[in-house]
Symmetry: C2
Amino acid sequence: MKKVTSYDVASKAGVSRATVSLVLNGSTAVSISPETRSRVLEVAKELNYQPNRAGRMLVRGRTETLGIVVTDPVLLAVDGFIALLLQAVIAKSREDGYRVMIDYIGNDGQKTYRDLINEGAVDGLLVISPRVGDADLLAVVESGFPVVLIGSINHPGEVSSMIQTENAFAEIVDHLTGLGHERIAYVSFGPAGIAAADQRIEYYRTALSTKGLEYDPALVVHAAYSARSGKIATSRLLQESDLAPTAIIAGNDTIAIGVLSAVAETGLGVPEDISVVGFDDLPISTCLLPPLTTVHHDIVQRARSAVETLILRVRGQPTATRQLELPTSLIIRESTGPVRESAYQRAEQDQLSRKR
Amino acid sequence: MKKVTSYDVASKAGVSRATVSLVLNGSTAVSISPETRSRVLEVAKELNYQPNRAGRMLVRGRTETLGIVVTDPVLLAVDGFIALLLQAVIAKSREDGYRVMIDYIGNDGQKTYRDLINEGAVDGLLVISPRVGDADLLAVVESGFPVVLIGSINHPGEVSSMIQTENAFAEIVDHLTGLGHERIAYVSFGPAGIAAADQRIEYYRTALSTKGLEYDPALVVHAAYSARSGKIATSRLLQESDLAPTAIIAGNDTIAIGVLSAVAETGLGVPEDISVVGFDDLPISTCLLPPLTTVHHDIVQRARSAVETLILRVRGQPTATRQLELPTSLIIRESTGPVRESAYQRAEQDQLSRKR
DNA sequence: GTTCACGACTAACACGTGTTATCTTCCATG
DNA sequence: CATGGAAGATAACACGTGTTAGTCGTGAAC
C-alpha cells in the first residue's frame, strides 16, 4: 500500500534509477540492452509502478492536464448542451492522454484563469461559454497561453469554435414563414456578452428582415439558463405582448422545454396555436411534447475538435484554423405547423369568448 | 509572462527563499519580524506569486485535489441528477480549497481508480453511482484510501451517501393506491448492480406487497440512462403487457421524461389515462407536461455533505457516520390523478373501438 | 600497443517547494 | 567580561522524476 517509486523498481531489477526511467519512457538517445529492458518492464509491471505525477510535472514543466472552465456554475447543473459537451471533452482528453481539471467562474472574486495558470495546474485551458469583456480572460488570450474557446470573445487572436448561426436562423425563419408565421418571438438565454446568445439574437433580426418582417422588441424576452427561467420569460411574453406571437424560437433546447411548458399552461396547443423551435438538438428533444423542431449541430464533434486544437496548441504545433465554424441544419419535428388563423383574429375571438 | 518562483520573490524582497515560504505559509514555528513579513507579502502580491503546484505536491505529498469518478461516461451527458450533483460537488470542493479532477470508468480497460491513486493525482475519490461487484473499486475501498460513494457497493467498510428509498416508495404507492391504482408499472434505469436502481426495484416490490398488491414481472421494464431509452422501454411496456398499467413509476426524472413521451405517443393522456411518478425532483420537473409528481431529496446537500466527509477522511479526521441516509418526500404535482375506469374495462373498450 | 568507436549503463543535476537544524546577532544577566 | 538565551534569518535537505554528460569495458583498426 506504500507508494512505489522508480527507486523501488531499480533496486529490485538490479539497475540504476536512470535506467528505469529511460526504459519506461522509451528513450532512444541512450541504448539499453534488450535483457535489461525486459527485466525492468517486468519488475515495473509486477510492482504496479506508476510514475509520480508531481515529480514528473516538476521536471518536465508540463502537467498533461487540461483545464475546463465554465463561466457560470449553474451551466453545469441545468444546461443540457454543456453536459453533452463536457462528456465529449472529457472523453477526448482521456483518449489523448490528458487528465481534466474542472472549474468555473464564480461571483466570489476568485481569479480562476490566472490561478490555474500561475500555479501550473494545467497545460491549456478550454473555456466554455466565455463572456465578451472578461478582462481576465482577455489577458490570458493575449498572453499566448494555450486557450481554446467554445464560444467567442470577439478577439482577433482567439482560437475558438463557433457554429453557423446565421445559416441556422435563415433556415428557421424560412421554415416558419413558409408555414405562414409572421409574428415570431425569440426567447434568449444567459446574461449579455455570451457570444452564442448575442449572435442568435442578431441573426434572428437579420433573418426576419430578410423576409421583410418587422423587428418588434416586445417579441424578444430574456431568460437565464434553466428551463424554468425560460418558462417564466415565456409566460411574461405571452401575457404582455399586445399581439400574441404565432411562433416562438427558443435560444436553446433547454429554454424550449420552458417555452413548451409556458405555452401549455396558457392553455394553448403546440403547434396548433403556437409553433416552437429549439436550438442544439439535444437527445432529449425527441422526447418533448411534442417532439421539438430544432437546429442540429454536432456537439460531440465540436468538443473533440476543440480539444484536439487545444492539445496542438499545448504542444506548440500550428493549428489549421483559428476560428472554426461548424455547420448546422434544421431538424423539423412536430412542434412547428401552419398558422391556423391570424393572430389578430384569434385575439378578437378570445375577447368574445371571455365575454360569455 | 515567465513563471515567477519563490526565489524571485526572495531576491526582490532581499531575503532568503526559506523566509518567503515561512511567511506565505504562516508558519509559527519560526519567528519573523513584522517588517520582513509585510515586505515579503507586498512583493509576493506585486509579482502575483502563486506557489507552483508540482513543487508543493512533491514536498507535501498531497495534491489538494479530489477525484470525481463517474461509472459511466454517458451519465455526464444525459442524466440531470448527475449534472446537479456535479455542480454542487465542484462548488463545495472549491469552497474548501480543493481542486477537482474528473474521470469516468470506460469500457476501454483503463483501470481508473488505481491510476489516479498510484500516480498521486488525487488525495481522495468521490465515486458517483458505483457498481456492486466492481473489483477495482472494492480493492480501493478495502485499502483504506479515502473514498466516498454516492451510492453503495454494499461493503461494510464503505463510506457512502444514500437516500431513504424505502420510505419514498411507500409514499409513492400510498399516493397511487389512494387514487385507486392497482396496476403500477416500474421503469428502471442503468445496468444491474447500481445500488440506487436496484434498491428502487426492491422497495417498489416491498411497497406493493405492503398494500396487498401482487408483483407482476411484466410490469417492470429496464432502460439505460437517457430519456430516450426510457421512452423506448415504456413503449415496449405499453405494447407488451396484456393488461395495461394505470400508473407508471419512473426510476428517475430523466427516465420520466421518456415515459411521458411514450405515453403521449400511444395517444393516452397523463394523468387521465395513466399516472406518472418520477424520482429526484430535478429543476426541470416543473416544466414537464404535465408538471411531474416526483420524489424530492436535497441533491445539493447530499453533494456537499459527501465532499465534506471526503475531506475529513483525506485529513485523517474521524467522520461522524459512515453510511449516511438522507430523507425524501413526495411532491405531488399534476402527473398523477384518480383512475377513471378500470384498465380491464378500458382494454375491452379499446378492442371495441378498433373493430369499428 | 595505442587509439578509436561504440554499446551499456549510471552519477549527477535540475525542477520548486516546505521544513528542520543551524547560524548569527544582540541584549540581558551573572 | 563571560555566558546564556532568544529573536531572526538561512543553509541544507527531501520529495520523485527526466535527462545529459560522463564512465567503463571491449573489441576493432592502424
